[in-house]
Amino acid sequence: MRIAERRLLATRPHRPGTGGLVPILVLLAVLLVLLTVRQPDFLAPSSLMSFLGRSAPIIVLAAGQYFVIVAGEFDLSVGSLVTAQVVVAARLIDSEPSRTWPVVVLLLASGAAVGLVNGLVTTRLRVSSFITTLGMYLILVGAVYLWSDGAPKGGLSEEFRRFGRRAFEDVVLVGRLPFAVLVLLAVAVLAVLLNRSDFGRTLVAAGGNPRTAELSGVRVHHVKTMAFVLSGLAAAVAAILIGGYSGVSFQAGAGLEFGAITAVVLGGVALGGGRGSVVGAMLGALTLETLFTLMNFYGVPGALRTAVQGAIILLAVAVSARRSVRR
């Protein structure tokens, strides 16, 4: 017995939280099968690519929200941040192509800045992040309406809009490769690397047990603030993609915060922090988008869709809650 116990730890390759991905993968697969049954050409490369492209914003947001949630916090301000960014971009660019890049830089910077404020208020002033970001949500919505007198002004340049709207045509294998997919790919790779980096692992530890993390040399306030900054940056990227995809509107970011949080939880990330992977969060977002598309193809009446969505979320989360070992 003792000798058996003395063997080395099984050193399987270390992949944080891979086991947690099973439920979301199953759900995604089921939805995709249902989709393909109804609409066989959905899986054609060009159709799939454009689906990925239009889903990119919410996936990016989910990646950003993941870092906040795994650190044990919430970010309810991302939806209003997206709206504010799109509206601000339109007014600043005012259909002037030459202003595109400066405004893109400005959006990223301001997204990071809003995240920084969220993070500092949460960590330094010890305000629960639910409240911090709820307050920020109210402030951003109020401020952007105020600044634009209640109706978006100006317009986005074609140069700005191409990120979310245009594509490389005639690409081998896939045919049409939307820019948004490339942006998504870059964000996803970055997010996975960050998740596996020392920063990512210490962030997860800070979400799991902040006291232990602090006493192991983690600057808990610092990493949590960084998580909010990442979420703000993700919102900026999402804003650029959404603004590009569909133009300026006050509805651009409406409800995206709940969408992103739902996606993250669907992806097996625990609210309260410390557990889950960013891949799961992004798959959760993709699953949600697949669900919406599925409902379009099956012609589920608009008014009932939220009910179907609610039921599927509850079912999926209940299943994974059951799976997660209870002692």
């Binding site: 050193t11 006291r211 040399g217 625990a270």
Partner: protein, 502 residues
Amino acid sequence: MSDALPSPLLTLRGIGKSFLGVRVLGEVDLDVLAGEVHAVVGENGAGKSTLMKIVSGGYAPDEGTITLDGVPRRFGAPRDAQRAGIGIVHQEFNLLPERSVAENVFLGHEPVRRGLVDRKAMLDRTADLLASIGESALPPGAPVGRLGVAQQQIVEIVKALALDARLLIMDEPTAALADNEVERLYALVRRLQQRQIGVLYVSHRLQEVFDLSGRITVLKDGRLVTTLNTADTDPDRLVRHMVGRDLSHYYPERAGPDEPRPVRLTVRNGGNRRLRDVDLRLRAGEVLGVGGLQGSGRSALARALFGAAPFTTGDVTLDGEPVRLRSPRAAMRAGIAYLTEDRKGEGIVAGGSVLDNALLAGRALRPAWRGRAARTARVRDLLTAVDVRAAAEDQEIRFLSGGNQQKVVLARWLALEPGILLFDEPTRGIDVGAKSAIHDLVRRLARDGAVVLMISSDLPELLGMSDRIIVMRDGRIAGELPAGATEEDVLTLALGTVPAAA
């Protein structure tokens, strides 16, 4: 065990339990008589806690029967066991700091009059219970968070008694107590005995087991080894039953008193909210023991040196140079490591994997992308070296036993190759085998030139391990003792009964 004994209060027969297919307990038989203190001992992971949870309704057994007063019982929840008259005093306090003593004592069974909680009755009855065990000084209306550890322990016990418990389970009840407080607990247990209450007493401290119990049951690897009459055995034999081998000497050899090694860390006039006038010199290669009562400033000293609650006055030098240890990171950069006393709350990230836990400090202090693989490999080696037993390195650490968790935390700090290690109760709640492994390690680190500051409430350990001992009292260093001091010396300083000749 003889037929002449009266019929037992509690009888367990063939109790077994598995988790996720792993059998942690099997075929355990045990009896407790009314008015008997029955000790349960065994290494960590022997199944003691699981057995206690089964008796108190925390888990349902997979097999076997529980008979209380001759009636077979099945407990679906702690509530059922409580109703049947089984109380438990947990190793970790189950109290709500915001609520009053009375509210805590009667939680779950508040007295009700006309549909509303009868607060007066609650306070009165709490006062009565406190008086009945000779603790009438404790105010029933005070919030528990304002009480000291020993008082909280009493609240725990009163909470169990409030249910008219006829069987009381005490799981490591002295773990949080200083030695003088243990005496009070002894008195309390004896008073319970007089009231014909049966006590199941779980402890790692053999001294207590011999002081209190009438019989001792030994568990090992989830199975019953034997049940002995305390009078018929002695500590050596008991340990042999527990570990299955002789532990000829508990504590490793000290380093010889050879040439004095250089002074590494000094503190002059150090002070903060909890410490005053701390003067300290730590030499390479020594183990400095720190004794004192709970709350005397022992942990505060370690926290000050680690920068978690820094000194606000005084000077600290490292290798002759002044240093400012303003934060854990600063201390870590200076080569200081701190193994906390509260393993669950401050030592581990319960939901994290074994490997993530072991890598945490290195990742936090020196984040890097390149060289990660080498670092991970080194930590793997360390985990093996300290003999962590886990199913896999990506197993969540919360599923490990306390001793194995402590080894993971040790590996985390060793990975930083610290020159100064602060150990706060490193062996508390850890089984004998893991304990001696940690002792060996401490000694080896010192031999290799590290400074070890070791806080311990376990006097034999403190005396056996330390090259030198300082004793804290009221935030000051009450005195210093050389190796070879006696338990009385330490207690005298800790209690301040005789003015310390410093």
